[in-house]
């Protein structure tokens, strides 16, 4: 990577390599700005005034300031497979599919995400393989619904299988039910309950919201067992 001052003699035409600044070289050339060094010498405010965000970006670039690199996420391979003890078809395949779906959904790498597309594959007893790509109508994390969709595809299997595979091709957004373990909306519910109590008290007075508090529930004297106390959160 070249240092910013090493680029000062280079032409402003280099800005064409960047989509956000591709329009600038022509205008800069008309203004007599031909090198990156000349561009770097211009006041930042003047570039912003004349070219807007692309002018600011060009100014940053010629001073060696670039937007952070965004690493490409490596493709994730999440796959479960099952060797079938004997050439399976019909109900046996259904049970195998059930197991595969459960195992795939239980994988820790799924991290609460839904599945948008999966690939169902089989190794056939007679030789050869079979493969079906299944895109769900909506992202799923519900094993019953997934099985329902996949079982229809599995019914198209041309011959008995000796192995079955299920792989995630694309993930969907996090599943609301899965997220509930960590973010169950408790704070939101408490705030709503607090507001409801406030409204009840505004209408019915301070005793509008009380709770029964067990003080000595096993007491032989009934009036000692519980009290009514203001409902507080």
């Amino acid at each position: 990577m070249a240092r910013a001052d090493e680029l000062h003699a280079d032409p402003v035409a280099l800005l064409r390599f960047r989509a956000d600044t591709a329009e600038l070289p022509e205008a800069l050339d008309r203004l007599g700005v031909r090198t990156l060094g000349e561009l770097a010498a211009l006041p930042r405010a003047a570039l912003a005034d004349r070219f807007g965000p692309s002018g600011l970006l060009a100014h940053d670039l010629v001073h060696g300031r670039d937007t952070p690199l965004r690493p490409r996420r490596p493709g994730e391979l999440l796959e479960e497979s099952l060797e079938l003890e004997e050439s399976a078809s019909g109900e046996q395949l259904g049970r195998a599919l059930e197991l595969l779906v459960d195992r795939l959904l239980a994988r820790r790498e799924r991290d609460g995400r839904t599945l948008r597309a999966v690939v169902l594959g089989a190794t056939l007893v007679e030789g050869g393989t079979w493969r079906e790509r299944v895109v769900f109508r909506e992202p799923l994390a519900d094993p019953a619904r997934m099985r329902l969709v996949l079982a229809q595809r599995l019914a198209q299997l041309p011959a008995p299988a000796e192995a079955l595979r299920l792989a995630v091709e694309r993930f969907g957004p996090p599943h609301h039910g899965g997220r509930a373990l960590f973010d169950d909306g408790t704070a939101q519910r408490r705030a709503r309950l607090r507001e409801a109590i406030r409204q009840v008290r505004a209408v019915a007075g301070p005793e509008g919201a009380l709770r029964v508090l067990a003080v000595d529930p096993d007491s032989r004297v009934p009036e000692r067992r519980a009290v009514l106390a203001p409902f507080e959160l």
């Binding site: 005793e207 029964v212 032989r220 004297v221 009036e223 009514l228 106390a229 203001p230």
Partner: protein, 81 residues
Amino acid sequence: MSPGTRRIGVPRPADVIAGRGGRPETVDRHEVVSVRESWLVEDRWWTDRPLRRRYWEVVTIDGRDLVVFRELEDGRWFRHR
């Protein structure tokens, strides 16, 4: 007791006519047709304000199930429900 807090099931005075053995025969002018249970509660006997109650769970002629008691210290009658 903290402000805004009040007891539940505080007994209220009852008009009870008792027969032999202290058995209630009427409660607030309702005839008692059966006694379901009777028990004695003694507490705080080690203090200046001992608690001694003879409880009766009774059913009145109009079908109500009531719990009444007699304060054995002063003879007054109360009911819980």
